[in-house]
Structures are given as structure tokens and as C-alpha cells.
């Protein structure tokens, strides 16, 4: 922090943005992420080939000028398939995380803040849900309702909020015990005022850090399910199912494993670096500049 800023007086938010802007890896992550999102949104118009288009004569060729990422055994363009896969993987990632975030933060905050019997009951419910291994949960739901995208959003969201709830509750419990909350209570502030002024700003840092851990882990979970053949069903494909196909033939056609794998990893990299940058920007106590 230099003298100029102190003289002008900067808000905490502006200060955070300034710090984020200075973080090169975070900005790189943001740029890559925006690029991926734009490409995913525009895929139906800018994809070089059609999604289903086969060319058996071009079966499983390595990357070339015509097919930048090569073709699969049916001669389908790998770049096009990865682009369409991005749409599905990113969509599942963002929507399911939003679901998880909403439920988890509310649940954990209420449990931690109210405490007592409510806390016990709420955390028991979390334990019960934790104990249901998610694969059977999702398999059972797909057996009953048939595999669909909406089901994946809800099922993954319903799985991923649990950790968020535990973390938020833990944070709230720790903060609740500190003196400045006691001071606020003794000064007669209402619970809502205390939540807004003290609790939310203090919980926000860990929430953002764990959200950045959640988006990639949601994308991973969807890919994991699709890899096992339990997630996205053909003819649609996500990065996970593309990787699964790639593994089957990795000794002969390694590029079919490599490119979906790289795309997935780069996306996760970008999200993680952006999240780290956000953490350093929002929680100056833990950053060292």
C-alpha cells in the first residue's frame, strides 16, 4: 500500500480489485476462462465440423491442418467434439456449484449461528447425507427418472453443498466465540445486523476459497461419473466421456486421451488460479504483499 492510495482513500472492494488485477496468474486464468466460456457459448456457430459428422476414411488420424486435434475412430473431428463437450462440462460445473453454494452457505450459517438443538439436527442431516455415497444416489435417481442434465445439476449440487455447509458452520462457530461479536451483542445489535456487519464479511473469504475448490470439483465429479459411464449419456458427451473413450485406445491413439485431458486440466487450472487470486485480494490478512 502506498501513500497515494491512503490520501485518496480507497474502498475495500476497490482495493480488492486492484490486488486481483495485479495478480498475473489470476488474470491469465480469468482470460482463459472467459475465452472458454465464449467459445462454448458460440460453439453451434463456430465449430469447424458438425458434431455427428463422420468420415470413416479419416478414421483416427493424428492432428493435421484439416483436423487440428485429429479425429476419432469414426473420423469425427476431435476439436468439434471437445468444443461441444466444453458446453456440457462448463454448464454442469457452474449450475451445480450455484446450487451447492446456495444450499451450503445458508445451511451452515443458520446451523452455526442459531446453534444448540437446531445446529445438532441440521448437522445430523448433513451427516446422514454424507453417509449416502453419491454414486448410488445418482444411479438410483437415474434409474428412477432416467439420466438427464437437470438430474445431474441437482444430484451433484445436492452432493457438493455438504462440505460447504460444514466449513461455513465451523467458521461461524469460531467467529461467534470471538470478543467483537460479544461486544456487538452487548451493545444491543440485532442478530441480523451482526450477521450482516460481522459474520458475512468474515465468512466470505473461506466461502470464496471453497467455491473455487467446488467449481473444479463439480466439473471433476461430472467427468468422473461420465468416465464410469454413469453421467452424460451418448450421443451427448462431456470431457469425462471423451477421456473415457480416449483411455480405451490410448496406446494406439494417445491424442484422443490427451486433448480432452488437457482441456479439462487447463480449465481447472484457470479456475484455481482465479480463485487463489480472489482469496488473496479479498482476505488481505493472509496475503503477504
Amino acid at each position: 500500500m502506498n501513500i497515494e492510495n491512503i490520501e485518496q482513500g480507497t474502498s475495500l472492494t476497490r482495493d480488492a480489485f486492484r490486488r486481483l488485477y495485479k495478480n498475473k496468474m489470476a488474470m491469465l486464468g480469468l482470460v482463459i476462462l472467459i475465452f472458454l466460456i465464449v467459445v462454448a457459448l458460440l460453439t453451434p456457430w463456430i465449430a469447424p465440423y458438425t458434431y455427428q459428422g463422420q468420415n470413416l476414411a479419416m478414421g483416427a488420424t493424428p492432428p493435421s491442418a484439416q483436423h487440428w486435434l485429429g479425429t476419432d475412430v469414426l473420423g469425427r473431428d476431435q476439436l468439434t467434439r471437445v468444443m461441444y463437450g466444453s458446453r456440457i462440462s462448463l454448464m454442469v460445473g457452474f449450475i451445480a456449484t450455484a446450487v451447492a453454494l446456495l444450499i451450503g452457505v445458508l445451511w451452515g450459517a443458520i446451523a452455526g449461528f442459531v446453534g444448540g438443538r437446531v445446529d445438532t439436527v441440521m448437522m445430523r442431516i448433513v451427516d446422514v447425507l454424507y453417509a449416502l455415497p453419491f454414486t448410488i444416489f445418482i444411479i438410483l435417481l437415474t434409474v428412477i427418472f432416467g439420466s438427464s442434465m437437470l438430474l445431474l445439476f441437482l444430484a451433484i449440487g445436492a452432493v457438493e453443498w455438504l462440505t460447504m455447509a460444514r466449513i461455513v458452520r465451523g467458521q461461524v462457530l469460531t467467529i461467534k466465540r470471538q470478543e467483537f461479536i460479544e461486544a456487538a451483542v452487548s451493545m444491543g445489535f440485532s442478530p441480523w445486523q451482526i450477521i450482516r456487519r460481522h459474520l458475512i464479511p468474515n465468512v466470505l473469504g473461506p466461502v470464496i476459497v471453497y467455491t473455487t475448490l467446488t467449481i473444479p470439483s463439480v466439473i471433476l465429479l461430472e467427468s468422473f461419473l461420465s468416465f464410469l459411464g454413469l453421467g452424460i449419456q451418448p450421443p451427448q458427451s462431456s470431457w469425462g466421456s471423451l477421456i473415457s473413450n480416449g483411455v480405451d485406445t490410448m496406446e494406439e491413439y494417445p491424442w484422443l486421451l490427451l486433448f480432452p485431458g488437457i482441456t479439462l486440466s487447463v480449465t481447472l487450472f484457470s479456475l484455481n488460479f482465479l480463485g487463489d487470486g480472489l482469496r488473496d485480494a479479498l482476505d488481505p490478512r493472509t496475503s503477504q504483499d
Binding site: 445438532t120 454424507y130 453417509a131 449416502l132 455415497p133 453419491f134 448410488i136 479439462l264 486440466s265 503477504q288
Partner: protein, 311 residues
């Protein structure tokens, strides 16, 4: 402390019961009978099968029979392989999955905590960036990408390590354990770094520094006690993730563990196997969450007050 443990164990029992009940009825609610094959089966055979699997009794009768059998450790016969019982398959597969998970978590804890502590002590230097970048790679390379890549490079191209099996040839446990553990090592490193940074900025650490204690002593005696708590609370849920991860790792490396049986049961619609395994996994995860809670309270006396008050 003893009262707290007793109380938590008592709380876990109804949870386990709820899980068994919910899982039992969810599996029963799945449409289509277990013996609906493409080929029509004579009614007498269906009747025989229903009798064998206790499906002709009323649902509540089935449920109470199942519970009583569970108490005796009897998970019933498998739907798909009638000659084998579910407990036989669990007994055969679980020790392998458990061993794999333990190697993976030990690997993850060793690498993760050490890397996280080093990174937090030298924040924003090369000793921070290198382990944290490695952790990023660990998180961003999923087990189903890392596993095949390790298999391809160390197993096939370099031919240093076996590519499949478990305990058949020396060294065949190395690649699966690393594949399963690496992302947890990465998460643990990140969590350790984050919480250690928080702890290291506290006043009592400054006091310890002012007393002239060595960095090693400050870390091991003062900082790690607080800094390790988020890692401990991560270990409970991590167990669930390890079991799920074993599905993929055991499939890739062809390990005859419970994870692989479970995935096969899911594809075969082997309802009794799915039911038994789910209950088994669930009880296991509840026990691990319980242990992680107990260790957490033991490490942080401030939480103890609350637990006494609530008790």
C-alpha cells in the same frame, strides 16, 4: 472427553439406522423387478426366486428381516451371482480397497502437510510457488487422466512398474496408491498452507518467535496444532472421496477390490450387492467422520466447552 465420545457414538447409531432404512426403500422403489430379463421366465421360477430372495413377503417384513440379518452380519445373497453372498464379496474386496485407501491417504498426508507448511513459511517465494504449482497440477489432473498417463509412461513406455493387479508382483501397489492419493496430497497442501498462514499471523506465534524458538519448534509445537485442524476436518469427507476414487483406480489398474465390484454391481443392477455395499460404505464413512470429530475436539479445547454444554 470420554462423555463426548460416548455421546457422539450414541448419536451415530440412529444415523446409521436412518441410512439403512432410506437406502433399503430407495432400492426397493426402483422400477422393474430384479429378474426382469429379456427372456420371459416361467412363473414357477419367478416364484422360487422371489422366495429365495424373500421378495414374496410384505415390504415391512422384508425390511425387518433384512435388519435382523444385518445385525448378524448377513447381507444376503447377490442377485447376479446367486452362489455368492454379498458379505463374501465385501470380505474379499474390502481389505484391498482399505489397504489402497490407507496407502493413498498416508502418501497424501506426508506430501501434503510438509509441502503446505514449507509453502506457508516461505510465502510468495520460490519455495511457495513450486509446491503450490505442483499441488495445482495434482488437483487439475484427475485420477482418470493421471492414472492412464502414469500407466502409459511408467508401466508401458519405461516398463519400470507393473500395470495391473494388487499384490501379485512387487511394486504393483505403487502406481494405484499414487494415483488415488495425489489429488488429496494437493488439497491437503492447499488447506495446510491456508490455515498455517492464518495461524502464523497470530500474536502467540509472534510471541514464540520473540522468545527465540527455532522455526521447527514453532511449527511443530505451536502452529501445527491449530493449523492442522482444517486438515483433520477434511479427512472425514476425504474418506468418502477415497472410496469413490477407488472405483476409478481399481477399474484402471484392474484391482479386485470392493470399488470395482461396486461399479460392476451398478451396471449389472445387482440390487442386493448395491444395497449391502452402500450400507457398508455408509457405516464406514460415519465412523470416519466420528473419528475426525473426536480428534478435532481433542486438538481444540475451545470446542470442548460447547460439547459439554450441549451434552
Amino acid at each position: 472427553m470420554f462423555g463426548f465420545i460416548l455421546k457422539r457414538v450414541a448419536q451415530a447409531i440412529p444415523v446409521i439406522l436412518i441410512v439403512i432404512t432410506a437406502t433399503f426403500f430407495m432400492v426397493r422403489a426402483a422400477p422393474g423387478g430384479p429378474f426382469d430379463e429379456e427372456r420371459a421366465v416361467p412363473p414357477e421360477v419367478t416364484k422360487q426366486l422371489n422366495a429365495r430372495y424373500n421378495l414374496d413377503a410384505p415390504v415391512w417384513q422384508q425390511y425387518s428381516d433384512y435388519l435382523l440379518n444385518l445385525l448378524r452380519g448377513d447381507f444376503g445373497p447377490s442377485f447376479k451371482f446367486p452362489s455368492r453372498s454379498v458379505d463374501e464379496m465385501i470380505a474379499a474386496g474390502f481389505p484391498i480397497t482399505f489397504e489402497l485407501s490407507m496407502y493413498a491417504i498416508i502418501f497424501a498426508l506426508l506430501i501434503g502437510v510438509v509441502a503446505g507448511v514449507i509453502a506457508s513459511l516461505r510465502a510468495n517465494t520460490l519455495q511457495d510457488y513450486v509446491p503450490m504449482s505442483a499441488a495445482m497440477v495434482g488437483i487439475c489432473l484427475p485420477s482418470f487422466v493421471l492414472g492412464p498417463l502414469l500407466l502409459l509412461s511408467f508401466g508401458i513406455w519405461l516398463d519400470w512398474l507393473p500395470v495391473s493387479g494388487w499384490g501379485y508382483t512387487p511394486g504393483d501397489k505403487i502406481l494405484p496408491s499414487i494415483t488415488l492419493g495425489s489429488s488429496y496430497a494437493a488439497y491437503i497442501a492447499r488447506i495446510t498452507r491456508g490455515s498455517m498462514l492464518e495461524v502464523l499471523s497470530q500474536d502467540y506465534i509472534r510471541t514464540a518467535r520473540a522468545k527465540g524458538l527455532s522455526t521447527f519448534r514453532i511449527v511443530t509445537v505451536h502452529a501445527l496444532r491449530g493449523g492442522i485442524t482444517p486438515v483433520i476436518s477434511f479427512l472425514g469427507p476425504a474418506m468418502a472421496g477415497l472410496l469413490a476414487g477407488s472405483f476409478v483406480v481399481e477399474t484402471i489398474f484392474q484391482i479386485p477390490g470392493l470399488g470395482r465390484f461396486y461399479v460392476q454391481a451398478a451396471f449389472n443392477r445387482d440390487y442386493t450387492m448395491i444395497l449391502g455395499c452402500t450400507i457398508f460404505f455408509a457405516v464406514l464413512i460415519i465412523i470416519f467422520n466420528l473419528l475426525s470429530d473426536i480428534v478435532l475436539v481433542w486438538l481444540n479445547p475451545r470446542l470442548r466447552q460447547d460439547s459439554v454444554k450441549r451434552g
